[in-house]
Amino acid sequence: MIRKLWPIFVRDLVLLTRGAQGRGGAVLPLLFFLAVAMLFPFAVGPDARLLARTGAGVIWVAALLAAILPLDRLVEPDVEAGMFDQWALRGISEEALILVRIVAHWLSFGVPLMLAAPISAGLLSLDAQQLWTVEVGLLLGTPGLAAIGVTIAALTAGLRAGAALGGLLAIPLAVPLLIFGAGSLQPGGEGGLMLLGACSLVAIAVAPFAGGGAIRAGRE
């Protein structure tokens, strides 16, 4: 099984990172994430104290919205091209495929976001302590965002208004991650990180079954 999944993982990672077949690749969410951090000070003014107080929350909102950007290209092109059918014929379960895609999606979107967070933190004048909390929070939270994203993408694959619907469906599911992620930056909010990790784990545990079921149901 692993022997068959490895080439699929490599393909997923290359496609999601580099982008092709109408997939945007890893650059678009990253630019979006940085653009929000860049624009926010223009909108609220250069007051460093105000920025430092609100900046961390802005980083989390930007991360969540960046996660929604690639949704409609995550699963749909491969369903359309019959790749999932071919994998099913080879006895590879949809659950395993979804799990592989979550890992590849996280590597192509979560990790770049974590790398870009110091730049965002500079633009929003966060201090080192806050940046550290943001980084730990992103490390714990982005896998959950990736899991939610892939699940929603599998659910909406093949629907006509899939892209718009995907965003609408993903936002409510991602709200707990946002609350605990941004909450962990409040004074005395360190417990938020634990809850953030717990939310991520739940999302990752449920996603392969929900996404796999969605792919199978989509064949009917």
């Binding site: 393909r11 092709a20 077949q21 019959g82 790749m83 059918d85 071919q86 064949r219 009917e220």
Partner: protein, 191 residues
């Protein structure tokens, strides 16, 4: 080649609220070709998907032994990749021994899949099926878009596969020039 066979018993297919066919039974063993014939819309492609296990039949059962390979209207090759790399992706998953099946693709190996013509795509799909090493082939309209020359070569490849102990199910509205073909006429099973 590993053992292969397929037994379909009393299959019915429903799309929406319409029964397309019912009571369809046939069996297939090594070295045989079954031709699912019928006009457009009779449910040939749905039957292929049922036989492949991708679609649940409304009634009836399908028993398969041996691995299977499918070629339908979905190419399952990455459009942006050169043909050689797109085929290599499936070879890495299947790890089947190299087969001698030439579909005239040697000159096209560096062409991105999305630039291939209809007939070239069909040949690429057949090459993917042949390279999978699976004994049971399910081919949905394999001759669509192929000119006379390549149509003959494709049918020769199907015959060679059967002679090597494989089995093939072909859904096609066109007559086949293969001999010893079991024809299943889907019109006979229309409710």
């Amino acid at each position: 080649m590993q053992e292969c066979g397929l037994v379909a018993t009393d299959i019915a297919c429903r799309r929406g609220d319409r029964i397309l066919f019912r009571g369809l039974s046939f069996d297939l063993s090594e070295g045989e070709v079954v031709h699912l014939a019928g006009p457009n819309g009779i449910g040939k492609s749905s039957l292929i998907r049922i036989l492949a296990g991708l679609l649940r039949p409304f009634a009836g059962t399908v028993e398969r032994t041996g691995g299977l390979a499918l070629s339908d209207e979905r190419l399952a090759l990455d459009g942006h990749e050169p043909l050689e790399r797109a085929l290599a992706f499936w070879r890495r998953i299947d790890r089947a021994p190299q087969v001698e099946a030439d579909f005239g693709l040697a000159d096209l190996l560096d062409v991105p899949v999305r630039y291939l013509s209809t007939g070239q795509r069909k040949r690429a799909a057949l090459a993917r099926v042949a390279a999978s090493g699976a004994p049971l082939w399910l081919l949905d309209e394999p001759l669509n878009g192929l000119d006379t020359h390549w149509s003959c070569i494709a049918q020769a490849a199907i015959k060679a596969h059967c002679n090597a102990g494989g089995a093939v199910i072909i859904a096609s509205h066109q007559p086949l020039s293969l001999d010893a073909v079991k024809v299943v006429e889907l019109l006979d099973f229309k409710p």
